[in-house]
Symmetry: C2
Subunit: 220 residues, 2 copies
């Protein structure tokens, strides 16, 4: 593990406040996030060099190591950055308790929009998420938990308003929907660009509709 060399290095591990940072640093970090998300999404974390990232961001290699301690750190922060964006979108769905199924549908729609807008992040996620001894194992576990919690509470909303199939565990359903969002989003980008957002949402929503049991609307 290499440590920051000259005194007062701004890239400390204990980062809590981004707002106190000078504007220049934030702009640089932003450019580095964008460039590395693109490159790493295309060729994988191991397939991209720090020099390439620096060049693509219009920045020198030293700047990468000044802002992030290492390539590994850069990627860990990149993962958090992307999840922050996705979480914000998911949480933007008003938990309009009038119809939990509609809320769920809008959330899936938000996820599809995110996948369309940041396909490289989605690729990065699926590429590295399930590697067993990975440098980002803990980061993934935490971020995955945060995302699943949001989906889980939306499922709970549905389960509270409709009679649902008890044979389907909430956890497995969370995972299936979460995974389907990534895969359907990526497949649309890579293999089926003609597929509409609505078709994709409808396919994923099928699992929610199958979750609520087929009865005339009855109270739980």
């Amino acid at each position: 593990m290499t440590t920051s060399q000259s005194g007062g290095s701004p890239a400390e591990p204990g980062d809590a406040e981004k707002k106190l940072r000078p504007a220049r640093t934030n702009a640089t970090k932003q450019k580095l996030f964008e460039a590395s998300m693109e490159l790493i999404g295309e060729r994988g974390a191991a397939g991209v060099t720090v020099d390439e990232i620096a060049t693509a961001a219009g920045v020198s290699k030293g700047t990468v190591y000044y802002n992030f301690g290492s390539k590994s750190d850069l990627i860990a922060q990149l993962l958090r950055h992307g999840v922050d964006i996705l979480m914000a979108r998911l949480l933007s769905v008003r938990d309009d308790s009038a119809d939990p199924l509609a809320a769920m549908e809008e959330m899936i729609g938000q996820a599809m929009d995110f996948m369309a807008e940041y396909p490289s992040f989605a690729r990065l996620w699926v590429s590295e998420n399930w590697r067993t001894p990975s440098e980002w194992q803990d980061t993934f576990a935490e971020l995955r938990g945060r995302l699943l919690a949001v989906i889980g509470s939306a499922i709970d909303g549905v389960a509270a308003a409709y009679p649902v199939d008890p044979a389907v565990s909430r956890g497995s359903l969370e995972t299936a929907i979460f995974g389907a969002c990534f895969v359907v989003g990526l497949d649309r980008q890579t293999y089926n660009p003609e597929r509409t957002r609505e078709q994709s949402v409808a396919a994923i929503m099928a699992s929610m509709r199958g979750y609520v049991v087929k009865q005339p609307p009855a109270q739980a």
Copy 2:
């Protein structure tokens, strides 16, 4: 007995056809497949060296290049090898037309078993499948098509026997189920080993149950 190993001759790039199957070579290839599936699944195609693969297979590096022309070739053949196994399992499900939904369920169960038995293949697949300019782009497109066709025909079976939601396109549903199998299978391995096979199958089957419209069972 695999039939279609296109260009699988263990000699020069400008190879002449060689029907002869030396037992030694096949055993070596098998060992190389097993070793590379494991290593590449764990650390990614770019993260594994040919030396490591050779060592893990108990073979020298030269042997890898003798049997496969390049690292890239090895991986391409590895992908075909894995898909052959998965396809065989999916096709082993008797198209017992008595209940297409039950056939579908068994197919998903077979897929879950495959993911549990070859998690490294599943990781390799999701890691490399959606990379945009990839050496294995064509290989993936072909193999993906073959797998989706099998799932698609199972969906057709259901659609022929039950009234289904016309808002859900077959293609999107194929993708969602296919993707969910990989993701749920991998998640079970990595994050939720306590989840049972049945729970996982039930979660994925929810999308099929949501696909058939909620009416009293109508005959085809």
